[in-house]
């Protein structure tokens, strides 16, 4: 949660805009996958700009702008500034927008090498050396985490803004959701590395419910203790390399994950 200023009350039939930056479109699809709630949503707000859903574009200003994706090209770095100017209330949705996403793995590598290896005519590619979250470029009022975002949290966000209350999006650990559901802990019962104790709640413990460890698509929780969790994974037989890879996924560039994965990379190289 980034917002420090008061939550503005959005008037009824407020104008919603949805923007895409570097991303897979999965978070926008989560909006379209709201099913019966999608009809409620279009009743509640005017969808003024949402290219994935409709061709019509209404001009700015917009009351709420949902931004999917990270900033990875010079053009995007320009465009996000305009988007910020056009939206009264800007929400970064999903792992890419809130942390840089899986494409932020380039931040550890040489982008020139990638471009040369992938494109036959690399001279036409205009890209930045890094993929960074929206908040690294403009002020973001609120963030929804996840790869993709969670339906219930999307609805909660819009519902809360419509009546002018703070969205109820907890920043505590995934374990709280897992235990409320009464799921068997995969770490304690199987010795399986699970990032849950360091990851923000919000998905409803999807992966532990399928008997597999959390891989952290919601990113770090408030004050995660990744040192201790990493030590535990080592005790359970994981290698520094495995721990590094677990942390360098969808939210690799979130500061706590970045620091911890760098730490395990150093130890891996010392070996």
């Amino acid at each position: 949660m980034l917002a420090k200023r008061p939550i503005p009350k959005v008037p009824p039939k407020s104008r919603l805009a949805v923007f895409k930056f570097s991303s897979c479109d999965g978070c926008q699809l989560s909006l379209l996958n709201l099913e019966e709630h999608l009809l409620e949503l279009v009743d509640a707000v005017e969808v003024a700009y949402f290219l994935e859903a409709r061709r019509r574009e209404l001009p700015p200003p917009y009351d709420v702008g949902l931004v999917e994706g990270s900033i990875s090209t010079p053009h995007e770095a320009q465009r996000i500034r305009q988007v910020r100017r056009d939206c009264r209330y800007l929400v970064a949705i999903g792992a890419c927008a809130s942390s840089g996403g899986i494409q932020a793995l380039r931040n550890w590598a040489d982008i020139g090498e990638f471009v040369g290896a992938v494109y036959p005519n690399p001279q036409y590619i205009r890209t930045l050396d890094t993929a960074t979250p929206i908040a690294a470029h403009v002020f973001v009022d609120f963030e929804l985490r996840g790869c993709p975002v969670n339906h219930a949290q999307l609805l909660e966000l819009v519902s809360a803004l419509l009546v002018g209350r703070r969205p109820n999006v907890p920043t505590s650990s995934l374990c709280l959701e897992c235990k409320r559901r009464g799921l068997p802990c995969v770490l304690v019962t199987h010795g399986q590395p699970c990032l849950g104790p360091a990851v923000q709640a919000g998905c409803g413990a999807l992966c532990p419910a399928c008997n597999r460890g959390c891989y952290g698509c919601f990113g770090p929780m408030e004050q995660p203790n990744l040192n201790s969790l990493g030590d535990r994974f080592l005790e359970l037989g994981a290698s520094h390399r495995q721990i590094k890879h677990l942390l360098r996924m969808f939210n690799a560039y979130q500061e706590p994950f970045k620091q911890a994965s760098d730490h395990h990379e150093r130890l891996e190289q010392q070996k």
Binding site: S159, A160, R165, S172, C175, L176, L187, V188, T189, P197
Partner: protein, 397 residues
């Protein structure tokens, strides 16, 4: 459940008598909750027949570790606790409190009070009875009004109707320390019936009038003196095989002096602040109440959910932000509440020695070990090693 005419009468219930017991309870309208095997854990869940109760398994518990292995298929209760306790049913993880709709310019309540199920807890342990007794005080079942009355109403009503058939522990788990806390391994109060498992059946003890009434419908006989003696022996053995201990003499007074103890920082380096200990603790009662509003339907709701003092935002106070901003501060708050300030607040210990917080801590932090370390620090002398009675397994650095 009435304790007044507890007869403590003993009977022998043959193994085959468990099925009729479940049937009778269900005929009387009870939802029978018993330990069942769910994937790789023992979980308290509704059963329709005694066959669904977990049997033939042993549990192996240690700090941050829980495994089940196959055991004698005839024996039912040679495992102890899973993560779940009766708390899940008396104080549910998520409970809708109210639903409101807008009519004209006012809110109109449209929710019905939640339906109160009639629960029969079958196979819960002595430490869990002690934990229920602790939560009775928290939620005001025992007459005290210590916590917000509205939120406690569901607990009180569910609790009033509940029936308890306890099982005495003959094989303590690896993280159990009920003997230290004076709560087990045998149930002494707070049950309608209690069972001690023997090879061919159970030694049954009547604990209340409701339990006696139930006995009248069961095929039971008087126990032989051998059976009674064997049950006693099994419980004595369980007591002496308890693997963890906590020296409670002077514990509260000792912990009162620990605000600045250097060990808090030490344990905070390991603590994940994930809140698992508080979720599985059968006495932890923290909750949060949050409001919701529908997009267009004009329905507003209020829901109560389990929360944890390990959540940073849980200690958020208007005007000053979270008051417990470090993991050390949160761990200190939790442990001192359990073992020290709970006495001031509720007149009992907040810990019943079930050991769940040890087993289900992802990094295996041991409450008995931490508590025995605290308050023994001598300035300038470094960290004092844990005394032998502290059940230490790990050398200090």
């Amino acid at each position: 459940m009435s304790q007044t005419n507890a007869s403590n009468q003993k009977y022998f219930l043959p193994r085959a008598g468990l099925e009729p017991l479940v049937r009778i309870l269900r005929q009387r309208g009870y939802t029978v909750l018993a330990p069942t095997r769910r994937d790789e854990i023992i979980s308290l869940a509704p059963v329709e027949s005694a066959d669904q109760i977990a049997r033939g398994v042993h549990d192996h518990q240690d700090g941050g570790r829980y495994r089940l292995t196959q055991a004698d298929p005839e024996i039912m209760f040679e495992y102890v606790l899973g993560a779940d306790s009766p708390k899940r049913y008396l104080f549910p993880p998520e409970l809708p409190l109210v639903e409101l709709r807008v009519r004209g310019n006012r809110f109109v309540p449209t929710s019905q009070p939640p339906a109160i199920a009639q629960y029969a807890f079958l196979g819960i342990r002595a430490c869990e009875l002690a934990a229920i007794k602790v939560q009775d005080r928290v939620f005001g079942h025992a007459g005290q009004d210590t916590l917000c009355a509205d939120a406690a109403e569901y607990y009180r009503r569910t609790r009033r109707q509940a029936l308890v058939i306890a099982v005495n522990c003959t094989r303590p788990g690896g993280t159990c320390f009920c003997a230290s806390m004076g709560t087990g391994p045998a149930a002494t109060e707070g049950f309608d019936l209690s069972l001690t498992e023997l090879r061919d059946g159970f030694l049954l003890t009547v604990g209340s009038q409701a339990g006696a009434a139930l006995c009248a419908e069961l095929e039971i006989r008087a126990p032989t003196s051998t059976e009674e003696g064997l049950a006693e022996m099994k419980l004595a053995a369980a007591r002496s095989h308890m693997q963890r201990h906590l020296d409670t003499r002077g514990l509260k007074e000792r912990l009162e002096q620990t605000i600045d103890d250097p060990n808090w920082e030490r344990v905070a380096a390991r603590c994940l602040s994930c809140g698992n200990c508080t979720m599985v603790c059968p006495t932890c009662f923290c909750f949060t109440v949050s409001d919701s509003s529908g997009l267009t339907d004009g329905v507003y709701g209020r829901t109560r959910r389990w929360e944890s003092c390990f959540s940073h935002q849980f200690s958020y106070v208007a005007g000053s932000g979270p008051v417990r901003s470090t993991i050390a501060a949160r761990y200190r708050h939790w442990l001192r509440h359990k073992l020290c300030t709970w006495w001031d607040q509720f007149g009992v210990s907040g810990c019943v020695g079930c050991g769940r917080c040890i087993t289900w801590c992802p990094v295996g932090i041991d409450l008995t070990e931490e508590a025995s370390r605290l308050g023994r620090h001598v300035p300038g002398a470094g960290v004092v090693p844990i005394p032998k009675a502290g059940g230490t397994k790990e050398a200090l650095p």
